[in-house]
C-alpha cells in the first residue's frame, strides 16, 4: 500500500504549511495600517475607556514577542479565542457554518465533474460539436458567479418559483447555488479533460483496443477517461480553492449560511480572532486536500513509482 515514510513526510509538510499560515496571519494583521482595536469596534465612536479595555483584553497592548508566544501557545491547544463581534468562541462560529459550505462545495464539485466528464467524452475528437461546446464552456468560465447566480435566481426563483430564493432546506435549496458555483469550474475541467482524452485517444493502446472490437463509447469511457482524469486530480487542489472563494459570493447572493459569510463579515469588521481562525481552517483544508490529491494520484496512476517521488 502506501509507503509509510512518504505519507509521514507529506503529513509533516502539511503541518508546516498550517504553521506558516498562522505566522502569516499573525504578522499580517499587525502590519496593516490603522489601530486594530478601533477597526474592530467599527466607526461607532466608542469611548476611549472601551477602546483601552478591549485592547487590554485582547492583549494587544503587550510587546510583540509576548503576543506571539501567547498566540502560538493557544494555537497548539486548539484555542482560537473568542470572536469580539459575535461574543462566541471562534471554534463555535466556524464549526456552525462549516457544514453548509462543505455541502455547497462538494455538490458544486460533483456537479462540475459530472458535467465535464459528459461533455469531454461526447466531444473529444469531434471537431464540429467541440467548437460549439468549447465556446459555451468559455462563456461559463468567464461569467462572474454573481451574475450567473442573479440570473438563475431571477428566472428560476422569482419568475417561475421553482426554487427558493433564500436558504432553503435540503437538496432543493442547494441546486441553484451549486449550479452557479459549478458553472465556473465546468469550463476549466472539461477543457483539461478533453485535451488529455484527445491525447490518449491518439495513443497506440487505443488502436489496440479498437483492434479488439471495442466501440467508440466504450473506448472513451474505459480507456481515455481514466487518462484524462489524471490532470484533473492535480486541478482538484485549485478547484477547492476556487470553490471556497466562489462560495463567498454565492452564499451572499443566495442568502445561504456558510463560511463565506463568516469570513466576509469578519474581514470587513476586522474581527481578528475569527479571521485568524478562518485562515487557519483554510490552510488546514488546503493542506489536507493536497495530501489527498497526492494519495489519489498514486491510486489513479499506477505508474508512479516510489523512487521517483521519494
Amino acid at each position: 500500500m502506501l509507503p509509510l515514510r512518504w505519507f509521514a513526510r507529506r503529513l509533516l509538510l502539511a503541518a508546516t504549511v498550517v504553521f506558516g499560515a498562522a505566522n502569516a496571519v499573525f504578522f499580517a494583521f499587525r502590519l496593516l495600517p490603522g489601530d486594530p482595536v478601533r477597526s474592530m469596534l467599527g466607526s461607532t465612536n466608542p469611548t476611549p475607556e472601551l477602546v483601552e479595555q478591549v485592547r487590554h483584553e485582547l492583549a494587544l497592548d503587550e510587546p510583540l514577542a509576548v503576543q506571539y508566544g501567547r498566540f502560538m501557545r493557544r494555537l497548539f491547544t486548539g484555542d482560537l479565542g473568542e470572536s469580539f463581534q459575535l461574543q462566541q468562541p471562534v471554534g463555535e462560529v466556524i464549526g456552525d457554518q462549516l457544514w453548509p459550505t462543505v455541502q455547497l462545495a462538494t455538490a458544486a464539485f460533483a456537479l462540475a465533474l459530472l458535467a465535464a466528464v459528459t461533455l469531454a467524452v461526447l466531444t473529444a475528437h469531434r471537431p464540429r460539436v467541440r467548437r460549439i461546446v468549447s465556446t459555451l464552456e468559455l462563456v461559463a468560465a468567464s461569467t462572474p458567479a454573481f451574475w450567473t447566480g442573479m440570473l438563475l435566481l431571477a428566472l428560476l426563483s422569482f419568475r417561475w418559483k421553482w426554487f427558493p430564493a433564500m436558504g432553503g432546506s435540503g437538496a432543493v435549496g442547494l441546486v441553484l447555488p451549486a449550479v452557479t458555483l459549478a458553472a465556473g469550474l465546468v469550463g476549466v475541467f472539461s477543457q483539461v479533460l478533453r485535451e488529455e482524452m484527445e491525447r490518449a485517444l491518439e495513443q497506440p493502446f487505443v488502436l489496440t483496443a479498437r483492434a479488439r472490437g471495442s466501440g467508440e463509447t466504450a473506448i472513451r469511457l474505459r480507456h481515455a477517461l481514466r487518462h484524462g482524469l489524471i490532470p484533473l486530480v492535480t486541478l482538484a487542489g485549485w478547484a477547492m480553492g476556487a470553490l471556497f472563494g466562489g462560495a463567498v459570493v454565492v452564499e451572499s447572493v443566495f442568502s445561504r449560511q456558510g463560511l463565506g459569510q463568516v469570513t466576509a463579515g469578519a474581514v470587513a469588521g476586522r474581527d481578528l480572532p475569527v479571521v485568524t481562525g478562518m485562515v487557519l481552517v483554510s490552510a488546514l483544508a488546503f493542506a489536507l486536500i493536497n495530501l489527498a490529491v497526492d494519495v489519489l494520484y498514486r491510486i489513479v496512476d499506477p505508474r508512479i513509482d516510489e523512487r521517483s517521488i521519494g
Binding site: Q203, P204, F205, L207, T208, A209, R210, A211, R212, G213, S214, G215, A218, R222, H223, R226, H227, V300, D301, P302, R303, E306, R307
Partner: protein, 572 residues
C-alpha cells in the same frame, strides 16, 4: 510445402488493387497505389519496406483501422469470402478481435498503462461474448499461460510497466489472440526488444502460424522477416515492387530496390565492408571499401585516450539495490572504435553516463586523456569537457525544437571553450560539410529535417568542439535501414578524417560488427568478453556471447519449437 513456397490452406484474405489516400479535394494524397495481397491460413506473409513505404497503413486497413480522413478503394477486399469493401463500422467491429487480430510494437504504449493486464485481455473476450463474466479472468490467465508468461495469475493483476519488455509483448499478443482470430496482423512486433527476447516472440508467432493462423508480418527488419516469413512482399513508395517465397527473394532478388535493401543491412554474419550508397542520396565523402582488416584485428597503436578501471555503480531500490555496473574496465585508444554490445539492462547506458562524467561511479575511476575524469567537480572538468562528446539515439528530443540548425551547432562551439567570435558560420558550414549536409540546411528547424539529417546534425554538433572521444549511444537504432547505412558511413568518414576515437554502444550485432575495431560484450553490469571484433564474432569465447550470436535469425531455417531452447531463468 509447395514449390512456390506457399502453404496449403484456405485463402483468408484477398486484396486486389488496394488504393488508400488521405485528405480531400486539392490536398488529397494517395499513399498506397494498387496493392495486391493474398493471405492463406497457416502461412506467414511478410510486408517489408522502409518508413513511408505504406506498409503500416496497408496493415491497418486490413483491420479496418485506416484512420480518419482516409479513403480506401479496392477492386476486391475479402475476408473469408465476405466482401469488406463496403463494410460499415459495425461489421468491422464484429470482425476485429474475433476474426482479425492486430499486434503492435512496443507493448508499453500499446497496452493501456492504467489498466491491469488481465483487464486488457478480458476486454477482448467481453467484446465478442466469449465466456461469462465469471470465467473471463480465468480465461485471461489461461491465455497468458499459453503465451508462456511465467506466473500468469500474478501477472494478470499487474500493470504493463511492471512487466519486462518481452512479457509485455507476450501479453499483448495474448490480448490479440484472445477471441481466437484466424488472421493475425503483426506490425513490427519485435522492434524495441532485445535480440534474445525477439527470438522468443518470433517463436511464439511461428507457433500460432503452425497452428493454422494466417500471419501478416509487417516489418523493416529483414532478419526478423527471414526467420518467420513464408512469403515476402516488398513495398516501396506505396507500391508492391516484388513478391515471392522467402528463400528465393533473399537469395536472388530481382527488383533493384530489393537488392538495395538487402545490401544496406549491416550483417553480423559478414565481415565489414562499406556500404554502396543508394542512388540519388547525398553521398558522404566515399571511401568505398577501404579494408580495415588490420585494424579490426586489434592492432591499434595510438595513445590511450579513455581509461575505465574497475568502475562500479549501484542504484538504491527496494530490496537491496541494483548493481548497474560492477568491475567494468576497458581502454580506448586514439583513432579506434570500441563497440559496446549489450541488451537492455546490461548497463551499457549507465556506462555511457559514467564515461561522460554525468554520473559518478561508486567504485573505480575514469580517466580522460591521461587526466583524472571521474571524482572531480564539474567546474574542474570544464576545460576537458569539450574533449569528450555524445551522440544520442533520438536527436529530436535533444534539440531545442525552436532552434535552427545553425544555432544548434553554434551552441556547441560556444560551449567547447574554443570560440571563434565572429566566424561561426564558416566553421558551422565546414562541420555540416563533414557530415555530408549542405549549407541550405542552416536555417531549418529540427522538424524540417529527416531522421538521417537530424542524426548528422547531431554528429556535427558533437564534433564542433573537436573532441578526442565520441560516445555514441544507440545512434542508428531509430533509423531506417538505408538511412542507417548512410549515417554509419558518416561515422566512418569522420573517423578517417579526424582520427576521433569512438565508444559505440548498441544492441544491434550487425551495426556493432560494421563499425567497431574492438568490441566489449556487456551483460548484467559486467563486461564478459573483450577483443578484436572479428575474433569475437567468429570465435566467441564467453557462453553469453555465443548465445547472442546464436540468437541471430538465419534466413531459410525453419524455427524449432521454443521448448527446445531453454533460456537461462531471468532473461525473458
Amino acid at each position: 510445402m509447395g514449390v512456390d513456397g506457399s502453404r496449403a490452406g484456405d485463402a483468408l484474405l484477398r486484396v486486389e488493387d488496394l488504393r488508400i489516400s488521405f485528405g480531400h479535394g486539392r490536398h488529397r494524397t494517395e499513399v498506397v497505389h494498387g496493392v495486391d495481397l493474398t493471405l492463406r491460413a497457416g502461412e506467414c506473409l511478410a510486408v517489408v519496406g522502409e518508413s513511408g513505404s505504406g506498409k503500416t497503413v496497408t496493415g491497418r486497413t486490413l483491420a479496418g483501422l485506416t484512420g480518419p480522413g482516409a479513403t480506401v478503394d479496392a477492386r476486391r477486399l475479402d475476408f473469408d469470402g465476405q466482401d469488406m469493401t463496403a463494410a460499415g463500422e459495425r461489421e468491422w467491429r464484429r470482425i476485429r478481435g474475433a476474426e482479425i487480430g492486430l499486434v503492435l510494437q512496443d507493448a508499453l504504449v500499446s497496452l493501456d498503462p492504467l489498466r491491469r493486464i488481465g483487464a486488457e485481455i478480458e476486454e477482448a473476450l467481453a467484446n465478442h461474448g466469449v465466456g461469462t463474466r465469471r470465467d473471463r479472468p480465468g480465461r485471461a490467465v489461461e491465455l497468458l499461460r499459453e503465451v508462456a508468461v511465467p506466473e500468469p495469475e500474478w501477472r494478470a493483476r499487474q500493470f504493463p510497466h511492471q512487466l519486462s519488455g518481452g512479457q509485455r509483448q507476450r501479453a499483448l499478443i495474448a490480448s490479440a489472440i484472445a477471441a481466437g482470430p484466424r488472421v493475425l496482423i503483426a506490425d513490427e512486433p519485435t522492434t524495441a526488444l532485445d535480440m534474445t527476447v525477439q527470438e522468443q516472440i518470433l517463436d511464439l508467432l511461428a507457433a500460432r502460424r503452425d497452428a493454422g493462423t494466417a500471419l501478416l508480418l509487417i516489418s523493416h527488419d529483414l532478419a526478423v522477416v527471414a526467420r518467420l516469413a513464408d512469403r515476402i512482399a516488398v513495398m516501396h513508395d506505396g507500391r508492391l515492387v516484388e513478391t515471392g517465397p522467402t528463400e528465393r527473394l533473399l537469395a536472388a532478388p530481382t527488383h533493384p530496390y530489393t537488392r538495395h535493401l538487402l545490401d544496406a543491412v549491416p550483417s553480423a554474419r559478414r565481415p565489414r565492408r562499406s556500404v554502396v550508397p543508394a542512388a540519388g542520396a547525398s553521398t558522404a565523402a566515399g571511401n568505398g571499401g577501404v579494408d580495415r582488416t588490420d585494424v579490426s584485428h586489434g592492432q591499434a597503436t595510438g595513445a590511450v585516450v579513455l581509461s575505465v578501471e574497475g568502475v562500479g555503480k549501484r542504484f538504491p531500490a527496494p530490496g537491496g539495490g541494483i548493481d548497474a555496473l560492477s568491475g567494468v574496465s576497458c581502454t580506448l585508444r586514439a583513432g579506434e572504435t570500441l563497440g559496446v554490445l549489450g541488451e537492455s539492462g546490461s548497463g551499457k547506458s549507465t556506462l555511457a553516463q559514467v564515461v561522460l562524467g554525468l554520473m559518478e561511479p561508486d567504485e573505480g575511476a575514469v580517466s580522460l586523456l591521461g587526466r583524472p575524469w571521474s571524482g572531480r567537480g564539474e567546474r574542474s572538468r570544464a576545460g576537458l569537457r569539450g574533449r569528450i562528446q555524445l551522440v544520442q539515439q533520438d536527436p529530436l528530443s535533444s534539440f531545442d525544437p525552436r532552434w535552427t540548425v545553425e544555432r544548434i551547432v553554434a551552441e556547441a562551439l560556444g560551449a567547447g571553450g574554443r570560440r571563434a567570435a565572429r566566424g561561426h558560420r564558416p566553421r558551422i558550414t565546414e562541420l555540416l560539410g563533414l557530415v555530408g549536409l549542405g549549407p541550405e540546411l542552416l536555417d531549418r528547424g529540427p522538424r524540417g529535417l529527416s531522421g538521417g539529417q537530424r542524426q548528422r546534425v547531431a554528429i556535427a554538433r558533437a564534433l564542433a568542439p573537436e573532441p578526442d572521444v565520441l560516445v555514441c549511444d544507440e545512434p542508428v537504432s531509430a533509423l531506417d535501414v538505408s538511412v542507417q547505412a548512410q549515417v554509419l558511413d558518416v561515422f566512418e568518414h569522420v573517423r578517417e578524417r579526424l582520427g576521433v576515437a569512438m565508444l559505440f554502444i548498441s544492441h544491434d550485432l550487425g551495426v556493432v560488427r560494421h563499425v567497431s575495431d574492438r568490441v566489449a560484450v556487456m551483460r548484467a553490469g559486467r563486461i564478459v568478453e573483450t577483443g578484436p571484433v572479428e575474433r569475437v564474432f567468429t570465435r566467441p569465447e564467453h557462453p553469453w556471447t555465443r548465445q547472442l550470436l546464436d540468437a541471430l535469425p538465419r534466413p531459410g531455417t525453419s524455427p524449432t519449437s521454443p521448448a527446445g531452447r531453454s533460456m537461462p531463468g531471468h532473461v525473458s
